[in-house]
Symmetry: C2
Subunit: 218 residues, 2 copies
């Protein structure tokens, strides 16, 4: 059964692949699973019909028959559970890959979200200039630790997994800030993720929503 996901009708990132539907598209492309996309306006996201799918009025959602999921991490995990290619078969390696999924959304993403909220919503506040470096320093603490752990490896724990997919997607949110430039190994890690054919296909598909043009190759 072809799943249907939701994405922004007009993504605030103008198709740069930073919205959370990108993670789900990427996971579906990694496992070669076709999917439908339903675009949702900001107004519709707050309406009861969408809130029935997503209690917090956001994207993405995932519908597959009677199953309705939200939260990009949970959707990526579901895709990884149902199809080979995103989680190792070995139980311990699998548990460690899932650990990186949680680390991405619960340790690395929150300070990055704080930065984005600060830049988007607090730019005109009196405290903006003074607080910004405080927020940035919290991110640098985490990036330094993540860079230490990654070391010279290609991926966080063995082969590419849903943990790397989530981590790269979260780190990509920092790209506009230039903050990753201080960490050559993390920059290379993110570039490695972006270079994956599945990422490229997912990126083209979400960009096509913004440009109104079909991605090359359909």
């Amino acid at each position: 059964m072809t799943p249907t996901i939701t994405a922004f009708e007009r993504s605030p990132d103008r198709g740069r692949g930073l919205a959370r539907d990108m993670r789900v598209r990427w996971a579906l492309e990694e496992v070669r699973q076709p999917y439908e996309v339903r675009l949702v306006s900001f107004a519709a996201m707050k309406e009861p019909a969408h809130r029935a799918l997503h209690p917090f009025g956001q994207i993405p959602t995932y519908e597959e028959g009677d199953l309705v999921l939200f939260e990009s991490g949970a959707i990526v995990f579901h895709i990884a559970q149902c199809h080979a290619g995103l989680l190792p078969d070995d139980a311990s390696a699998r548990a460690r890959a899932i650990t990186w999924m949680f680390a991405a959304v619960n340790t690395i993403e929150p300070p990055i979200l704080d930065l984005q909220t600060t830049v988007l919503l607090e730019r005109d506040q009196s405290w903006y200039r003074e607080r910004l470096p405080v927020v940035e320093n919290r991110i640098h603490d985490r990036l330094g630790q993540l860079s230490d752990r990654l070391g010279d490896a290609d991926w966080l724990d063995g082969g590419f997994s849903a943990g790397d997919l989530m981590m790269v997607a979260v780190l990509l949110r920092l790209k506009p800030s230039g903050m990753l430039d201080r960490y050559p190994s993390l920059s290379a890690y993110v570039a490695r993720g972006e270079a994956r054919p599945a990422y490229q296909r997912a990126f083209a598909a979400q960009l096509a929503v913004f440009t109104g043009q079909s991605p090359a190759g359909g």
Copy 2:
């Protein structure tokens, strides 16, 4: 094999059950799995030996033979995968319960963390008083939506699951603020979690670290 988890030697919450080892203890108690605890000082958490277990220098960690995990969400998930009682058997219900685990750590916890960081680290900053209500309002948005979804139900999706365990644990971080009081159904939901015998045993065990007394009944 009895797993070993790490917890704060001196928890900053003085044993109120708000540190993240509580989630893991609670999960282990729900599935009646004995565990060992190794207490870690703040200084030791930043040392290479602990950083080898937890790249971000935090607690909890989980060691079970050769397997080392960190991130409370990932550890709770691992426990739920290995033992019956925390995730439904039905695949769709299981995916929905896992969705609530991710919602707890990626949608509800980040604004709550922002509040705690603000109160702990920015209290002496010039912007503190002005910014605090902004942070609180973001939490209220989420609590209102969560309360709408919960409605009159006991738990978020059918029976108690690891999704509820994580959500209750995250909401408990708000208890000192009194912010939950505006949401009677959420307050009752959290109280329902706290009333579970497994929660009670876990709470007593973590409090005993602080008081230096063994929990009643060992």
